[in-house]
Each structure stands twice: as structure tokens, then as C-alpha cells.
């Protein structure tokens, strides 16, 4: 019955009820028309909502449930605004009116009482889904209509203004020029003053409305409008009516009076022939009695008239037009606008030049973008959900393609969502509520790793939320190394709150083993299998730093007469002897001790001791030295330095042990001795260690330096 995918016409209903019987009865009642999702408590219900989002058309919600009750679910749905798009019908045997009231306050659409009546349940479910679908459709329709209207009005402006121009016999550019000049001047105005309270939107709307400034000329008789030569006074009086006629036309659009576009267009039509000194028409307004929109369009209109050729005059140059306006030859304008004109005079030719078709389209595109933006606000929730749904779809598609363990952890409610492949690999369900309490989950990652990972994620910041963590996961009966890459999610509130994380776990087991193998190769001596000098130095330094108060001893061992073994029996034999000695050393030391090959026939032992160093060293020496390997007599010289005598680091210990060895070598070999302070000053230029990999040494044994 659980259908995870929603086919085109089928609606998905989520039933949240702790009784399996009740869920089954409801599912049966709803029959085959719907896809049913089931959750057996509130937490699971919330996880389902989180996972399936707007796929879910309706929630049937019980009140009394373990983990999280129905009110808890409603609270979460409110918190995440799901309730705005997903209707909820509450189902309960609870008859108390306080319950019902609270449920309705939390946004449920309907209430159904037990015992269910099959017919009622069915009808209410269908009605609720239809109602919500209708609402969504209505919202979309309203948005569409607003867009249509704006679109039509801008089309209407275009058509009207062009009709005027055609009748006017003008170039067709006049309207565009006025538009551009208006916009250019307005931008300067708002930089200079805010006394007109103009917003960026006002600039756009006024510029658009400017196209209608001469719309009243439609009513002017053809012979007056296009009369070659100067108009008579009578004709001019007729001509002057166009401003009022245009305003009246706009006023006759009763249903659009609240539109800013219509409001500005009215001002522009009526008053774009008024002048600052009150000598304009039709109303003889003065100064700022004239709306700023009309003042600016008037200026733009005059400029374009001056620079255009008319039947009664040639086209003036830009410079000439500007100076004529500034000199007051075309009537008096607002001094502030004169300043603005001066400021932008140089920009005007370029702006008008750019007033090409492309420029216009670009501007229109911007307008459309602005309109779309407005609509987005209108249907934000639905659009956002659609986008989210798209993202979710993309995510699950890609997740299904990769063989990776991908996860998403949410703190409240505590839940872990796994990719399908990941869930299969881990042997966990795709949605796991309360993973901290899950035995299955805890069997996969050990608690220390889990908590340490959580701590690391908690200590990230919203600016730097990504964490890499290596640990072993127990999968398919074995521990395998994984690299967990996770991104913490932080809420946008102040201070930000940790809300969970997303991430993936990559199986790095084989590459890690390979690394370990390489590390082993790099740190070990190939012949004897003991660690090499560099690695020994590192580990000893670590031990010393780890517990500086401990008592430690370092011994350097040298195989006596080794050169003659090589010379007599060959290098193969020599290697066998070294391996033999290494094996003896391995057997003579305790678990925590360190044995290393320093180089050539020299070895090193590092150990920690409590009280009796003497007997420990004696024991080691006796196990290592003496006896024969085939015919070769095994004799070892050994120098020992302890932290009781030598106060210092690895280098110092090594040098002192080396010095003690030097003394042994010079006094007959085949025994060992301790470094004593009186021997020589530390760091004296004597050493028994061959220079094979020791730069600090000077060799003085019977073998020639190699």
C-alpha cells in the first residue's frame, strides 16, 4: 500500500495514527484512488512530511499518540509553514471542545470523529483536497491576471502613444526620447533631493507614464494637429485642450484610479504644459503645485521638440537646446531642474543615442523581471515548495546513481535520513527516528566516534561548516575505515542554532590499508623487519613527550666482527646474521619497548623502566649476545644511557649511549657499559656509530667506514 511515487493524477495521503488497525481501516475506506503513506506516531509523521513534502496532498492526523502527539505534529507543521500548503484533517474520539478549538487554531481544515463513517471520511478527504487545489489554482490565476493586466496596460500605452505619433506625423522617436529624458532627469533629481519622496519604482512608473503625455492629441482635429506653418490663436487654443482631454481620458478609467501608473499619467497629461512661474496651461499652476512628474516631462518634451525638426522650424543642436532652456527661452522651469539639466547635459546625447531597439528591449525585460518579482512574493510559498521539490527530486536522483552512503541528520525531531543505497549498505531504514537510541545505528559507529563527530560539527561556524572525520564503521560483519564528510546546518537566527547536518561516508578502507602499507614500508627496515632509525626517533620522541616524568633507557648495540663475517662468508651470510640478531632482539624486549635497526650492524633498544634498570639491561644483553649463528660467533657491544643520568631528549640520549658504546668498543668489545657523566662531556666528538645514516658520527671500530 505504501506507494512512494506519485503518479500524475493520484494524490498522496499521509495517515498518522498509532493504531495499525485504525490506519488500515482508513486506508481501506479511501480505497484505491489515493496513494497512502503511514506513520505510527507524530515523530514519524513529521519525518514523512520532511521527506515527501508537497507530494503529500492531505494529512489524516490522530491526537493521542506516543513519541509526539497530534498537536506536536501541528506545531511542527506551523513552524515549518507546511500547514499553509498541506491540509490536515484531525481524527479523534476526543470530544472535548478545547481540543477541537486548539486544533483549529493550529490550522487544521476539518475534524472527523471516531467511529468513522466511510462515506463521510471519503467525502471530507476529497473535498479538502479539491478545496486546497482550487485555492492553489486561484492564487495562480490571480497572479496570472495581475501580470496580464500590467502587460496589457503597457501594450495599451505603446499603441496609444504610437497612434498619437502617427497622427502627429512625428518621427516615432518622440515618445521614446521623452521616456529616456524623463528617466535620466529623475535619476539626477533623486540624487539631489529627497523632497519629492521618489522611489526607484516611481522613476520606472513615471518614465513609462511619460509616453502618454500627448495622448489627448487623439481628440485634436487632423487639420489643426498637422497644419504646416504656425497655428492661429484660435487653432492654438484648440491645440491646448489636448492636456485636459488626455487627463479626462485617464480619469474615465474608473477601475484603474489606484494604479500608480494611471495616477502619474494623469498628472503628466494634465500638467505637462504648466510652467514654474504660473504662465503655463491649462490650470496656471505655480512652482511645486505642479507635480514633479509633470515638471520633468514638460522639460523633456521641450528639449525633444527643440532638437527635432518641425514643419515650422529646423532641428537645433543639443548644446543650443540646452542653452535655450537654461536661458528661459522656452518658459520658466524649476531652478532645481535647471541644475539637474546642467548636471546631466553631457549624458543626454549618449542616453538618447542608446535609445535603440535593444536598449528598449532591455528596459522592458527589466520591467518584466520586476513584475515577476512581484508575483513571486504573491505565491512565494508555493513557488518555494516547487523549487524545493525540484531540488529534492534532483537530489534523490543523483543519490540513487552514486554508490555512497549519504545522510541527513536533523536535531529536532532527532532523525536520520539515508540515501537508498546508503540505507541498504548500512542495513538501516531510510528514515530513522531517534538514531541515538537505535541499537542498529549504534552497532555501526562506536559511541566515542559518534560523539566526537557530533562535537566537531557543533563547533563549526555557519561560515565554515564542513567537517572531515575518519573512523571505522561496522558493516557487513567487518570494521571498515570510512571518511565522513559532513556539512553542519545552522539556522539563520542570531545567534545561529545548530540544526543538523548533511553529508556522506566514503569507504576509504582499501586506500587506507594501502596507505598503512606504504607507511609500514617507509618506517621499517626491509631486511630485519625492525623499524628504521628515523621512525624510531619519531616514536621515542613521542614517548618522551607523552610522559616526561617516566624513566627511560636507550641502548645502542653493535655486532662485533661483523665485517669479517661479511668478508669470510659473503654479504648474503651477513644479512642472515643481522636477521638472526634482530630476531633475538625482538624476543628479548617487552611489549612497550622499541627495537630498531639504526643502520649497518648497529641496533637500538628503547625502554621504560621502574626501579631496576641493571637487571633489565643485563637480561636483554644476555639474550642478545653470545652463542653462534652457524660458525659465526655472536658478540655484541652495547652502550646504554638512561634518563636518570642524562637529562634530555632523544638526541642527547642517543649521543650518550653512542659514547658509552665507543668506550666498550675501545675496551675489548663483547660487553656493555652505561654512560656515566664523568666519561666525557656530552656532545664530545667521539662516536661508535657508523656513518651509514648518521651524519654526526666518527667511526672508530675495526671496520673501515663503508
Amino acid at each position: 500500500m505504501n506507494a512512494l511515487t506519485q503518479t500524475a493524477n493520484r494524490q498522496t495521503i499521509l495517515i498518522v495514527d498509532d493504531s495499525e488497525m485504525n490506519r488500515a481501516i482508513l486506508a481501506d475506506m479511501l480505497g484505491n484512488e489515493f496513494d497512502i503513506l503511514e506513520a505510527e506516531n507524530g515523530l514519524e509523521g513529521v519525518a514523512m512530511l520532511q521527506k515527501h513534502g508537497p507530494e503529500i496532498s492531505l494529512v489524516l492526523l490522530d491526537i493521542v499518540m506516543p513519541e509526539m502527539d497530534g498537536f506536536g505534529v501541528l506545531n511542527m507543521m506551523n513552524k515549518y509553514h507546511w500547514i499553509e500548503d498541506i491540509p490536515v484533517i484531525m481524527i479523534s474520539a476526543e470530544r472535548g471542545s478545547s481540543h477541537i478549538e486548539r486544533a483549529f487554531e493550529l490550522g487544521i481544515t476539518d475534524f472527523i470523529w471516531r467511529p468513522f463513517d466511510a462515506l463521510i471520511v471519503r467525502h471530507r478527504v476529497v473535498n479538502t483536497i479539491l478545496l486546497y487545489a482550487k485555492q492553489k489554482k486561484l492564487t495562480a490565476m490571480v497572479a496570472e491576471q495581475i501580470f496580464e493586466k500590467e502587460h496589457r496596460s503597457s501594450l495599451m500605452i505603446d499603441i496609444l502613444s504610437h497612434i498619437v505619433e502617427f497622427r502627429n506625423g512625428e518621427s516615432g522617436m518622440h515618445v521614446q526620447h521623452v521616456h529616456t529624458l524623463t528617466e535620466t532627469l529623475l535619476k539626477v533629481v533623486i540624487q539631489k533631493t529627497d523632497k519629492y519622496h521618489l522611489s526607484q519604482t516611481d522613476i520606472t512608473v513615471i518614465s513609462t507614464a511619460s509616453a502618454l503625455h500627448d495622448v489627448g492629441k487623439i481628440a485634436i482635429p487632423e487639420e489643426v494637429l498637422n497644419k504646416p506653418g504656425r497655428l492661429t490663436d484660435e487653432e492654438f487654443a484648440i491645440m491646448k485642450t489636448h492636456s485636459l482631454v488626455g487627463a479626462n481620458m485617464l480619469e474615465a478609467l474608473p477601475s484603474y484610479q489606484d494604479e500608480p501608473l494611471v495616477r502619474f499619467a494623469y498628472q503628466i497629461c494634465r500638467w505637462h504644459h504648466e510652467r514654474w512661474d504660473g504662465r503655463g496651461y491649462p490650470d496656471g499652476l505655480k512652482g511645486d503645485e505642479i507635480p514633479i512628474s509633470a515638471q520633468i516631462v514638460a522639460l523633456a518634451d521641450v528639449y525633444d521638440a527643440l532638437t527635432s525638426q518641425r514643419v515650422y522650424k529646423p532641428a537645433f543642436s543639443h548644446e543650443k537646446a540646452v542653452s535655450m532652456i537654461l536661458n528661459g527661452e522656452c518658459g520658466t522651469f524649476n531652478p532645481l531642474l535647471m541644475d539637474c539639466l546642467r548636471d546631466c547635459a553631457d549624458d543626454i546625447p549618449r542616453a538618447l543615442d542608446g535609445d535603440s531597439f535593444e536598449e528598449r528591449s532591455r528596459r522592458e525585460l527589466q520591467n518584466v523581471a520586476r513584475e515577476l518579482h512581484k508575483h513571486e512574493e504573491l505565491t512565494a510559498s508555493e513557488r518555494t515548495l516547487e523549487l524545493l521539490e525540484h531540488e529534492r527530486m534532483k537530489y534523490s536522483f543523483f543519490a540513487s546513481l552514486t554508490q555512497e552512503i549519504q545522510f541527513e541528520y536533523t536535531v529536532t525531531p532527532s532523525s536520520l535520513i539515508l540515501s537508498t543505497w546508503g540505507a541498504e549498505r548500512l542495513g538501516l531504514p531510510e528514515v530513522l527516528m531517534d538514531p541515538y537510541q537505535s541499537m542498529e545505528a549504534n552497532a555501526i559507529i562506536n559511541a566515542a566516534d559518534r560523539d566526537s563527530l557530533a562535537d566537531t560539527l557543533h563547533s563549526t561556524t555557519p561560515g565554515n561548516p564542513v567537517v572531515t572525520y575518519d573512523c571505522k564503521l561496522h558493516l557487513g560483519g567487518e570494521d571498515r575505515w570510512h571518511r565522513i564528510i559532513a556539512r553542519a546546518s545552522w539556522s539563520s537566527e542570531e545567534p545561529p542554532r545548530y540544526t543538523g547536518c548533511i553529508g556522506k561516508a566514503l569507504d576509504t578502507h582499501s586506500s587506507r590499508l594501502q596507505m598503512e602499507h606504504l607507511e609500514q614500508e617507509a618506517s621499517h627496515d626491509a631486511l630485519t623487519g625492525l623499524i628504521n632509525r628515523a621512525y624510531a626517533r619519531k616514536r621515542i620522541a613521542e614517548r618522551l613527550a607523552d610522559r616526561p616524568t617516566g624513566r627511560y633507557a636507550l641502548a645502542i648495540l653493535d655486532l662485533d666482527y661483523f665485517k669479517s663475517a661479511n668478508d669470510t662468508y659473503g654479504h648474503m651470510f651477513g644479512d642472515q646474521v643481522l636477521k638472526f640478531l634482530a630476531e633475538r632482539m625482538r624476543r628479548s624486549i617487552r611489549g612497550g619497548d622499541i627495537a630498531a635497526r639504526v643502520g649497518g650492524d648497529e641496533f637500538l633498544i628503547f625502554l621504560e623502566y621502574k626501579d631496576d634498570l641493571e637487571s633489565t639491561i643485563e637480561g636483554i644483553y644476555n639474550r642478545v649476545s653470545g652463542g653462534v649463528y652457524e660458525d659465526f660467533k655472536i658478540s655484541v657491544s652495547m652502550g646504554v644511557a638512561s634518563t636518570e643520568i642524562v637529562d634530555g631528549d632523544y638526541e642527547t640520549l642517543f649521543r650518550c649511549a653512542d659514547e658509552a658504546l665507543y668506550v666498550v668498543k675501545n675496551s675489548g668489545k663483547g660487553h656493555y657499559s652505561y654512560y656515566q657523566k664523568e666519561h666525557a662531556p656530552v656532545g664530545a666528538d667521539i662516536s661508535a656509530v657508523s656513518p651509514i645514516d648518521s651524519e654526526e658520527t666518527k667511526h672508530d671500530s675495526e671496520e673501515a667506514p663503508k
Binding site: 493504531s19 488497525m21 481501506d28 499518540m65 506516543p66 467511529p115 468513522f116
Partner: protein
């Protein structure tokens, strides 16, 4: 034994449930399913463990299922017990009687269904 006789034996309201669920097949399916519902066992277990909150939920679920299936006798006794357990109320005198009644009514309901199941041949 018919389903109607089964309802009579347990003290249920057959006509009412058929009126609501509108299909004898559906009713039959869920009546038989009632035998496997774990809520009753959960009620006993949580009462024994002293978990009154869980016991409330279990009693509440039984009540809801009985209401849906028209098991009127068990509905009445489970409803009384649900109210006694509501909001973590401490045990009142007479609660043992309420529990005993639920046990008796549950046994009666169960017997009736089992008899019907055998009679219905499976």
C-alpha cells in the same frame, strides 16, 4: 455463525457498523484483524509495569478501534478505563473493577470472534 451472530454474542451493534462502513467484507476483515491487535496486550503490560501514560494510550486505542468496529460493550468499559487513566491520574478506588470489566469484555469479544472465525472456516 454469521457475522451478525458474532456481534450479538459480543454485545456489538452490527447494524450500526454496516451503516457506517457500508461493506460486510470490510467489517469482516477488520473484525478478524482485531484478534491480532496488540493494544490489549500493551494495556496489560503497561498496567503491570505501572506505566500509566502508556496504559492510557493503549486503552484509548482500544476504545477507538471498538468505536470504529461497533464493539459497544468493550467500547463502554475501555472508555471508562481510558478516562480513569487520563492525564496521569493516580489510581482511584474502583480502578481494579474497571480493569476487570475490560478484561471480561475483551475475553467475551475475543471468544465471539474466534467462534465466528472457526464457523467461517478460517
Amino acid at each position: 455463525m454469521t457475522l451478525q451472530e458474532c456481534y450479538a454474542a459480543m454485545g456489538g451493534n452490527y447494524d450500526e457498523v454496516i451503516g457506517r462502513l457500508r461493506s460486510e467484507k470490510l467489517v469482516q476483515k477488520f473484525v478478524l484483524k482485531f484478534l491480532n491487535d496488540g493494544s490489549y496486550q500493551l494495556l496489560l503490560d503497561s498496567l503491570a509495569a505501572g506505566d500509566r501514560e502508556e496504559a492510557f494510550r493503549a486503552a484509548h486505542t482500544i476504545k477507538g478501534v471498538c468505536a470504529n468496529l461497533g464493539f459497544d460493550v468493550l467500547l463502554a468499559s475501555s472508555e471508562a478505563l481510558t478516562e480513569a487513566l487520563r492525564d496521569g491520574r493516580p489510581p482511584q478506588p474502583g480502578e481494579a473493577d474497571l480493569i476487570a470489566r475490560v478484561e471480561a469484555d475483551y475475553a467475551r469479544t475475543r471468544q465471539a470472534i474466534q467462534a465466528y472465525q472457526e464457523g467461517a472456516g478460517g
